[in-house]
């Protein structure tokens, strides 16, 4: 939205949004949960959005199917610049992997078996694990937990581990129970 930031950082434009998401998508390895902290840092550092609003949109992106990186980025782009922003985010996230995968497919044998490439990938994989752990800690600390929410969250975790293909019904049930719990709490 058009709120001016105190630091007078330039507002988001189609090109700056596209470029921001393009870079994030081009250098981030390991999927959504590794990309989300990168995205949060880049977006907040540019003064486009505070961290809390960003993670709210990230949580909302869990409500729709599809790669979470892409859906989060499109929600962020839409919030900042309406439809052009959403389009810029979509293209920025989509182009690097599609292009790089086509190249990798062409060079498959040479790239995948090179020990130095594999060493690079193993090293950065470590950072991916570390970033996901940090994201988990940060998100858990960022919200005020009621007792029933802690219990539901742990139950949801157990259910996700046991029933692997049932993420959607488990998530929806958890969300409904959280809202019901909040109503009971109030009354």
């Amino acid at each position: 939205m058009g709120k001016a930031t105190p630091a007078e950082k330039p507002p988001a434009t189609f090109l700056s949004l596209f470029w921001t998401f393009f870079v994030i998508s081009a250098v981030t390895i390991g999927g959504s949960y590794a990309m989300v902290p990168v995205m949060a840092t880049r977006i907040t550092r540019r003064g486009w959005m505070d961290e809390q609003s960003f993670y709210d949109l990230f949580a909302l992106a869990q409500a729709v199917p599809g790669p979470t990186t892409l859906t989060t980025a499109v929600f962020v782009g839409q919030r900042l610049l309406g439809f052009p922003g959403a389009a810029a985010a979509f293209l920025g996230i989509m182009i690097p992997p599609v292009v790089s995968i086509i190249l990798v497919s062409l060079l498959y044998a040479a790239v995948a078996r090179n020990p130095i490439v594999q060493g690079f990938l193993a090293g950065s994989y470590g950072t991916v694990i570390g970033l996901v752990a940090a994201l988990l800690i940060r998100m858990a600390r960022a919200r005020k937990w009621r007792i029933h929410e802690v219990v539901l969250s742990l139950l949801c975790f157990a259910a996700l581990l046991v029933f692997k293909g049932w993420a959607l019904p488990i998530v929806i049930t958890t969300v409904i129970l959280v809202r019901l719990g909040a109503m009971i709490w109030k009354s």
Binding site: Y33, A59, T71, V104, I116, G130, M139
Partner: protein
């Protein structure tokens, strides 16, 4: 016709792909191996590469399988098809929030109770990858601490740790 069935298969995958990358990869495996487009071991290779190439894992897998099945056209068709429904869903959610005056804050706050365990399960499956070297765990612990306590750019962490891994591989450590 191959292109059409590719588009349809990945469109369907997009519809049920809740829960982000790793859930989607499981769905893709089921669909692709069942159709005989790829053997299970080849699929495992594709996933390994999709995981370490930039971009969302599910999108990478779709692009790569599309390429294997239908060349350049196949890769573009599969990539667009897998995100077609998710983009419709994003538009729908935005319209619903606006029309029905749903309190977005409360909704996303409730979603966080489920998002946090989803991330936890991702962490579990990332950590269960077989044969991770000791340096990978050291890098993981250091990256986690740096991300929590400093303002270092995560992109630098990823590139830096990759460079450490490449140097170690070059010297056979």
């Amino acid at each position: 016709m191959e292109i059409l069935s590719l588009a349809w298969a990945f469109f369907k995958i997009g519809i049920i792909s809740f829960g982000g990358g790793w859930t989607i990869v499981g769905i893709i495996q089921h669909e692709v191996v069942a159709r005989g487009w790829m053997s299970a071991p080849t699929f495992a290779n594709v996933v390994a590469i999709a995981q370490v190439t930039p971009g969302p894992v599910a999108l990478n897998a779709a692009t790569m399988i599309g390429f294997r099945v239908g060349g350049l056209a196949g890769s573009l068709v599969a990539s667009v098809a897998v995100v077609a429904f998710p983009m419709l869903a994003v538009a729908l959610v935005l319209i619903l929030i606006r029309r029905m005056h749903i309190d977005e804050k409360k909704l996303s706050d409730a979603f966080r109770v489920a998002t946090i365990p989803l991330i936890a399960t991702t962490l579990v499956s990332l950590g269960m990858t077989p044969a991770l070297g000791w340096h990978v765990w050291l890098i993981a612990a250091a990256s986690c601490a740096l991300s929590l306590f400093t303002k270092v750019d995560p992109i630098l962490l990823i590139l830096g740790s990759g460079a450490i891994g490449a140097v170690m591989a070059a010297f056979h450590m």
